[in-house]
Amino acid sequence: MSRNISRISRRVFLCFGLLTAGMAQAQLSIEITGAGANRIPVSIANFAGDAALSRIVVGTVRADLERSGLFKLIDPGSVGMDENSPVDHADWKGRGADALAAGSVVRGADGRLEARFRLYDTQKGVALGGMVFVTDTAQLRLAGHRIADFIYEKLTGERGVFSTRIAYVVKSRGQFMLQIADADGQGAATALTSTEPIISPVWSPDGSKLAYVSFEKKKPMVYVHSLSSGQRHIVANFKGSNSAPAWAPDGRKLAVVLSKDGNSQLYSVNVDGSGVQRLAQSAGIDTEPRYSADGAHIYFTSDRGGSPQIYRIESSGGAAQRVTFEGSYNVSPRPSADGKSLAFISRREGRFQLAVMDLSSRQVQVLTDSNKDESPSFAPNSRMILIATEVGGRGLLSAVSIDGRIKQRLSIAAGDVREPAWGPFLK
């Protein structure tokens, strides 16, 4: 319990920092363009307690589960049920719900809110567990995301990502804004506004910072930006270009690409900018490094063989192994957190599409039918991949499940959205 409370209070602090950096006017709107085949039928009852507050929590839970494409929401009727209401399992089973959640949101004497819920397996007629969140009005949706994560994990066996956040860049009216939003696109806040481009944002493993490339000084430099304080510093400003940051899993170092010694080449640098060391050497371009989740390998793009392909080295150095072989343009490697898959962008007949490789079998599957996919980013549960794509000449984000069956689009009416980065699980 105390663990959950500390999680919430930390989140409150984080969001405060973002809010002071300026709220975004533009919200991401989401459109689901596909759904899984065998959706789990689940019913989320109207919670008891404060009706308005309950509606926010329940609405968030239902929207999260629905959007995931893995659940089919069963109409619970209008009767409110709290976490201790008796449950007629046979009745719910009869209505087609394999699982049921009920709960309450109440305002305590000190003004704080308590959101409680319990999840039931109606097939077995047992409770699967519940939680209590102490929160405030501003954080009610987060409580909803947490409840949805709990339900997702209990029913699918995998961790949910509803309470995680995403970063992306919006280009609107000549301005570039680095924004942070909840994984459902709500609650967007602007961390950085610039008249010059911002690319390649990546989350630190603890989710407190972003590294990115900013062109605000007429050339690309790598920055690290603390989200709660807004403090930022330059990590790499060497002669030539500085780009493509990737966090080492321990959060102490970054792999970066520097052209200071000639071609674009891979280096590692401490987060404070000290201790630059070369990671690999080639006569061509080496770029887009990404550490495997266990830190053992670095995947990267190189044209050392004549066309851009994905290679990997051991992060301690050594010879490079080629990873992609099909086609003449395979770039932007992103290993999944579970170590099983590699997402990348593959050019097929002039079209740039999201592909995923099963790292044990080396089988490649193209997941989209688009023309201009870029910058894939895995959800921390390795189940979805967020990409930038283009529809009707406008940049938008798309989330695609690793089997390609579920697709969601996130767009902003006011501008182009690009360079998505899915943040880590909240600690």
């Binding site: 481009p197 690319i199 390649s200 490339v213 062109f215 007429k218 050339k219 690309p220 002669k239 030539g240 270009s241 780009s243 493509a244 690409v257 052209s259 000639g262 071609n263 674009s264 371009i285 770029t287 887009e288 793009t301 851009p308 343009y329 770039v331 932007s332 962008i345 050019r347 740039f352 201009k372 870029e374 910058s375 000449g393 360079e419």
Partner: protein, 180 residues
């Protein structure tokens, strides 16, 4: 500030105009050169422009105002038609060793942003190599890339793309004023 006068003075002397430099804040018409088969390159003098650079670098009648070098698709070498442009800038850098240039390489929009950044770097590096081969000092020239991020032509299609496969030369005067 004093140093800044030197290039203007030199230019004025070269074309045989008055040796009295124009005041630095002059915004009047530039002094036109008079060439008459003397084999002397025409240079436009006339103080400094708004960015603090000698007008011969920015006046559109001066060959040094040509700052863009265009590249073919998937090509990263300076085409023969642009060798003259690069040579003009090399000559200026040799004559004005305290001036610096930033070369920004660019690509079209297709493909990975970071890979394009590296390809734009190759274009900027090619221009830098030509400049230094022609006598510019290593310390005078920095080559960087903007990748696909700053298209000159925001459209899609070959016409726009060919305008965006480009390297641009930006100048900085010894007093730190200039274009970067």
């Amino acid at each position: 500030m004093k140093k800044l006068l030197i290039p203007s003075l030199l230019a004025a002397l070269l074309v045989g105009c008055s040796t009295t430099p124009l005041p630095e804040d002059s915004t009047g018409a530039p002094v036109e050169s008079r060439t008459g088969g003397t084999g002397v390159a025409p240079v436009v003098a006339g103080g400094l422009d708004a960015s603090g650079l000698p007008r011969e670098l920015t006046d559109k009648n001066s060959p040094l105002s040509q700052r863009s070098i265009y590249f073919d698709l998937d090509k990263y070498d300076v085409k023969s038609e642009y060798q003259g442009v690069v040579a003009n800038h090399a000559k200026y850098l040799v004559a004005n060793p305290s001036f610096k240039v930033l070369i920004q390489g660019n690509t079209d929009e297709r493909g990975s942003r970071e890979y394009n950044l590296s390809l734009g770097q190759k274009r900027a590096d090619a221009v830098k190599r030509s400049l230094t081969l022609l006598g510019a000092k290593e310390a005078q020239v920095e080559s960087v890339s903007l990748g696909e991020e700053k298209p000159k032509n925001a459209g899609s299609g070959e016409e726009a793309w060919s305008e965006n496969r480009r390297a641009d030369i930006l100048y900085r005067a010894p007093d730190g004023r200039g274009e970067f």
